[in-house]
């Protein structure tokens, strides 16, 4: 299994697309932080902007601000690309049938591909955070943060711990996308489900159904910085992600095992 994961990782990591994504994930946070440094008047209307406002006090908070800015779209697209291409990529090249004739057992191949896609998603998320952290410290320094709204100061050590936790939470928040993307990768070549989920999640008339959307709890980590508390929504978010992983991971495995490989 380890050798299979290694071969799949080599294939994915050596793609030009992966290198471009890596450059983007390093360059974009640096650009955002530079723009933030240059900007004097920052609006304080919502949490994302709240994080950006707080981030100007300390570079240690910049990763959180950058994660807030990228986790809603950019990271979603990147994660969907990795997950959605896991099986479909080899299928499109015509290489899938040769792997299966090697023979590589289908279940094992699917797990290896999903593992590599998940690994790339985690690496991408941490890369964004790390790039933000380095750029933030370079431009704003490393200081404690005063959250004026609640009258508290968050120390450097706590900030670092929470940045680490929030990065892991955001990365884990793409688990449902990984499962959905892998499932759709087995079915077809597309994985635009998260974008649809984000749009539907904004429609309040959908009521409690929205709580089951994979993106509903995606921003719940931000309360660690804006309200100085760990939200219970984070636990709900983890449970939703696990639920999607179990359901769609199982569906993907069952379907892939039975599928006629025609490409």
């Amino acid at each position: 299994m380890i050798s299979l994961v290694r071969t799949e990782f080599t294939k994915a990591a050596r793609r030009t697309r992966t290198l471009v994504v890596g450059a983007l994930l390093v360059g974009l946070p640096a650009l955002i932080v530079f723009a933030l440094h240059q900007r004097n008047n920052v609006r304080q209307a919502n949490a994302g902007e709240g994080l950006f406002r707080l981030a100007r006090q300390s570079g240690l908070l910049v990763p959180a601000a950058v994660l807030g800015a990228t986790s809603g779209f950019l990271l979603v697209v990147i994660a969907a690309t990795f997950a959605g291409d896991s099986v479909a990529g080899d299928s499109a090249w015509g290489n899938l049938r040769y792997l299966l004739m090697r023979p590589v057992p289908r279940g094992r191949l699917l797990v290896a591909k999903a593992t590599v896609a998940g690994l790339l998603i985690w690496v991408s998320t941490f890369l964004v955070a790390l790039a933000g952290l380095l750029a933030g410290i370079a431009l704003f320094g490393a200081h404690p943060v005063n959250v004026v709204a609640i009258g508290l100061q968050i120390s450097e050590k706590t900030l670092m711990l929470r940045v680490l936790l929030s990065t892991a939470y955001v990365a884990f928040g793409f688990t449902a996308l990984l499962a959905l993307g892998t499932f759709f990768s087995v079915l077809t070549d597309t994985a635009g489900v998260y974008i649809v989920s984000e749009i539907l999640d904004g429609i309040t008339q959908l009521g409690r159904v929205r709580y089951l959307f994979p993106t509903h709890y995606l921003d719940s980590w931000q309360s660690m910085f804006t309200d100085n508390r760990y939200s219970h929504d984070m636990i709900a978010g983890v449970l939703v992600q696990v639920g999607y992983l179990v359901v769609f991971g199982t569906l993907a495995a069952v379907y892939f095992r039975r599928k006629d490989i025609r490409s």
Partner: protein
């Protein structure tokens, strides 16, 4: 569902236990469309077996089912006596090229070979990499990305890949498609060489000359159904005539006219053209030699192409021709 033994080619030295590919009553349907209908055949060790048929005859679907890529709607396929399921272990003993050779385009040829081999959980030192690279014959191009390779280079690389594990059985689907004449010749010589080294080959093609040159046995399919099977010689001879040259033409004519299998004897040049009622050239030869005549030449006057077209024309709505049985 028919028994496989009904359609087997019981040639000299063959026995049922030698069959390393067995297809038994295979059906494969896609919705209302039948790609393969009640197909049965067997390939024995050492044979070079051709699957012949026009486009859409069901050749590739048959090979896909055989390699565990698709599930049969009905019937079974076996490799080395083991029923084929997706990813079954017996596939390790098979080197296959189904449709065109395909690779990870952004990786070099060499890395593609390595990754494919290692994906099976084996170490590179267990593979016959030197032999495979010699066959690929790509030189320094083996280190170039595959998306810079020509189709011919990819096909040769595909052969290198399928030979990495020194397979006992080669399954080749239209292996010379898209190649230039020089490359086609190379591939045919390679298949002949591998066969001479003991490999069993199952080859699908619609290039009749290819099957005629390379295969010992062939099966003709049309619309998913078996039309005929037997040795290539038998298939060619089954529906036609032979040209012979002997030391005494008139005595030979008299001998041949006394044979029940002979329809007509005509002079042509220095020899005779003998029209047969069925395809037993060996009986013609045996009768002439038995009569003390010196047989200098005996050859089919038609090629596989003629036989193929006649079989397809006659095969629609007819039960399959079991050439070998008729001949034996």
């Amino acid at each position: 569902m028919s028994e496989p033994s009904d359609t087997l080619n019981d040639g000299p030295g063959d026995s049922r236990g030698d069959a390393i590919v067995e297809v038994d009553g295979l059906w494969k349907t896609f919705g209302a469309v039948s790609a393969v209908e009640d197909l049965s055949f067997a390939v024995r060790r050492g044979q070079v077996y051709g699957l012949l048929g026009p486009n859409g005859a069901g050749k590739t679907t048959t090979l896909r089912v055989l390699m565990g890529l698709e599930r049969p709607t009905r019937g079974t396929t076996r490799l080395f006596g083991t029923r084929v399921t997706p990813g079954c272990r017996e596939l390790v003993r098979v080197g296959a090229m189904v449709e065109q050779a395909a690779f990870v385009p952004h990786l070099s040829g060499l890395r593609n070979l390595r990754l494919w081999w290692e994906a099976g959980g084996k170490r590179m030192r267990d593979a016959d990499l030197d032999g495979a690279l010699a066959i690929a014959g790509l030189g320094n191009a083996i280190d170039r990305k595959v998306n810079t390779h020509s189709q011919g280079m990819k096909q040769r690389l595909g052969f290198a890949r399928l030979l990495l594990g020194r397979p006992e059985l080669l399954v080749l689907d239209e292996p010379t498609n898209g190649l230039d004449p020089g490359e086609i010749r190379e591939i045919r010589e390679l298949i002949a060489r591998l066969s001479a080294q003991g490999a069993t080959v199952l080859l699908s093609s619609h290039h009749l000359s290819e099957v005629e040159q390379v295969c010992s046995h062939a099966l003709v399919m049309n619309h998913g159904r078996l039309v005929a099977d037997g040795t290539v010689t038998e298939l060619i001879g089954s529906t036609g005539s032979v040209y012979i040259e002997v030391d005494d033409r008139e005595r030979a004519r008299a001998v041949l006219q006394g044979l029940k299998i002979v329809e007509r004897v005509q002079s042509q040049g220095d020899g005779l053209v003998v029209e047969l009622r069925d395809g037993r050239r060996s009986e013609v030869a045996a009768a002439l030699v038995g009569a003390g005549l010196q047989l200098e030449t005996i050859m089919a006057t038609q090629r596989l192409e003629d036989a193929f077209l006649e079989l397809l024309a006659a095969g629609d709505g007819q039960p399959p021709a079991r050439v070998a049985q008729a001949a034996s």
